[in-house]
Symmetry: C2
Subunit: 469 residues, 2 copies
């Protein structure tokens, strides 16, 4: 049975149940997404101010069999926030931005789903704590979306994915009931872990309205370095060496190919580059140490040993916070340079660490058999997470290669899957990767997912078309 649209008639029945000005016509900004691939079909957006408002909206839509698309910062890269058909109601959490409470002695805070990540960072910092989830869109991404997609980012190596930072959730389930699960406990074994089921479900099993978040101690001293490496294999050996010397204090370990630095030089020349003539491969390392430790000395020791072992022959250690920020600017602007060049096909994949060197060789060879491309391979090597993105040669455009796009994607994804990897490491499934998920997911898992979806959302109103179409 198809869902009913969130049309003017639906709006007229919903409006009286909500405070004034909760429902608005959906402005164009809600109907776009960063990849420019889809145009949303929604006519109305609901802007609730409270969990009770969210519950009233979901309850009403459940009764009317009307779809709902939860909307956070709109920064998702797989179309989870956009419904190109069916005219579901957009449910934006942007008014629910409160930090409800802070508990410094528990290393915890409770934030609403609309809170922007960088505001949560600031709150944690004011508590002399760290909320370690961090990614390029931190200035606009909202907590609910970050949790619903189980966001990854640059500090996963040390602190885990978004799901690892959540102690409790408050959420509105597909029948409009409210799960009051904002516990602040490090141990709680009372029944099934609904928290981890909602995290990463991309809004298809309910709407996260608030979360209690685990904070970490702030490292007393941070060190940042660019080290040239001779190959991805050398980068992995360097990672092992770094963890051997520095244990869990290695908080980021990013692999960067020269192609990314070249794109940056061409498209964003104001970003200061680490090398005039960049090496083919380099890594950006960040370490966060305890009190009394000297991060520059630690990185120098690491580099000296890497030099001895032939893993690196050139390195730059940031001598100031400004310089460290410049290093990070390089890394964080590569996606923007990519966007300006225009990829033919982008791949957010993860692999078992030991498979990465072979993967890069094999995937490059396989793509050469399809055509002539520029490959920008970069990403969170410490997590086995590569952004393996394929671009046209200089002078050509992505449109010139439109006919090869599917072949490129299948080539990369088949290889990834064959090596035990994932075709969506950190971006999720959304609407972009539903076919990939069906193709590569274990059948027993897929059947279980469908059973769970049907059990919790029998009418299929929550984010229809996403994850499980």
């Amino acid at each position: 049975m198809p869902l009913a649209p969130a049309d003017d008639a639906l709006a007229d029945t919903l409006r009286p149940l909500l405070p004034d000005d909760t429902l608005r016509r959906a402005e164009p900004r809600y109907l776009e997404e960063p990849r420019g691939r889809w145009q949303g079909s929604s006519a109305w957006v609901a802007l609730p101010r409270s969990t009770e408002d969210v519950a009233a909206i979901v309850r009403h839509c459940a009764g009317k069999r009307t779809g709902i698309v939860p909307y956070g910062g709109g920064t998702g890269l797989v179309g989870g926030q956009i419904a190109p058909e069916g005219q579901p109601l957009l449910l934006s959490l942007e008014r629910m931005t409160a930090i409800r409470a802070t508990y410094p002695e528990e290393n915890t805070l409770v934030a609403e789903a609309g809170a922007i990540l960088s505001d949560i960072h600031d709150t944690a910092e004011a508590m002399d704590r760290l909320f370690p989830l961090s990614l390029a869109s931190k200035g606009s991404a909202r907590l609910g979306g970050l949790l619903s997609t189980n966001a990854g980012g640059i500090n996963t190596l040390r602190y885990g994915n978004a799901r690892n930072l959540v102690l409790g959730l408050e959420a509105v389930l597909p029948d409009g009931s409210v799960w009051h699960g904002l516990r602040r406990l490090r141990k709680d074994n009372t029944g099934y872990d609904l928290r981890h089921l909602l995290i990463g479900a991309e809004g298809t099993l309910g709407v996260i309205t608030a979360a209690s978040l685990a904070l970490s101690p702030r490292p007393a001293a941070t060190g940042t370095a660019f080290l040239a490496v001779s190959s991805p294999r050398a980068a992995l050996d360097l990672l092992a060496l770094a963890r051997d010397q520095l244990g869990e204090t290695v908080s980021a370990f990013e692999l960067i190919h020269r192609q990314g630095l070249d794109f940056l030089a061409a498209e964003l020349p104001d970003i200061r580059r680490p090398w005039e003539t960049p090496p083919e491969w380099c890594v950006l390392i960040e370490i966060g140490l305890g009190r009394g430790a000297d991060p520059v000395a630690a990185l120098e020791t690491l580099f000296a040993e890497a030099l001895d072992q032939g893993l690196s022959d050139d390195g730059l250690i940031a001598s100031s916070e400004t310089q460290a920020q410049q290093f990070w600017d390089v890394r964080e602007h590569i996606p923007e340079a990519n966007r300006r060049i225009g990829s033919i096909s982008s791949h957010d994949i993860s692999l078992p660490l030991s498979a990465i060197p072979d993967f890069i060789v094999d995937a490059t060879q396989a793509l050469n058999a399809i055509g002539s491309f520029r490959i920008n391979c970069f990403g969170h090597l410490g997590d086995g997470n590569l952004h393996f993105n394929v671009f046209p040669q200089d002078g050509q455009t992505r449109a010139d290669h439109a006919h090869q796009r599917e072949a490129i994607k299948s080539c990369v994804h088949d290889l990834t899957h064959g090596m035990g990897g994932s075709v969506s490491a950190e971006h999720g499934i959304g609407r972009l990767k539903t076919d990939d998920m069906t193709r590569y997911t274990d059948p027993a898992k897929l059947a279980a997912m469908r059973s769970i979806k049907t059990a919790l959302d029998p009418a299929g109103i929550m984010n229809p078309g996403a994850v499980l179409p």
Copy 2:
């Protein structure tokens, strides 16, 4: 519709589907549990050698609507491994003990569900890595049970609960299908997180047959200390101080009340006690530092500052591994001393850290209104996890207080729940706490749990009577 028993007729139809000697009559050891509270009703135990065997057993039982109780090391404290009625088939994973593979450069190993925790420790150590999950029953607890109950233990503060150490699972679902989910990825956002749903489900949603486990670097140097503290509040302040000075390197922070040391002196006099005249409260701290660091010096610095701040006036820092082991022996033998004394009611609870001092005062007062008891309060303070156990006065027995048991339990659990705590921090629900779960769990969560259980196990064959009776 009631389930069919796993009687001789069932055994006769199942036997031909399995390798020889897979089915045996259930010996008495399978029908007992550590608390001596229940006697199992099962007549048959299946001892599969492979995942395929497990799948054949589950498929057959699903067809016959026969219950299955997965059985690990039998060490669970809430009766999850014992079925006092209905005569379900016991499914013991004890023959599936293989470490299937090790991946030192990925900090990963893959182990079968029957592997004993201490064997996994040894394997990790041989790889120069650490599998940090540790608890008193490590010599007999098996991986499948540890994951199915999301075991906690002494290192949760630093490394998280069991669920945080699992990268992937292989499991047989209630219809007998096999989920091949043994991924070794740090990031994988392809659909709902079935892994976290099975972990902590206590065998009610399927049988875990193997897991890929995340290992950690081994700390280069470990330090252990007993510090006397003036109160639980002072213990919390000391924890904050320790984390401020030592960051995430604080790997254990155990609170111990004098009552536990007195029980130890009375029941297990061979265990060397840290003090001749113990303080009312003390903490056992363990730190694990990186290369080149001096843990004794770090603990001395901590103690000096604690002394300055009036948090501690006496401390013992282990000067050798032998002494550190003696310190841990004290902590790890308290449960055995408790067993010998015989508690009236034991409580495995967790609380928000900031609520703990008030809880201890309030709970003690409330119990005084019920009767005259000895309270042994100890546990993993760093995780907010207390074992708040109530004993008869010297000269009385637990039987003398049988009429007060329910009142004691309700008193402790109501207070815990009222302060935002959990009535099962690390032991799970099993069969002991199903009423508590129904009473204290948020109704929306409970309804979602029931929906999920029905969706994945419509006949209710998996561990019938546990978690959701």
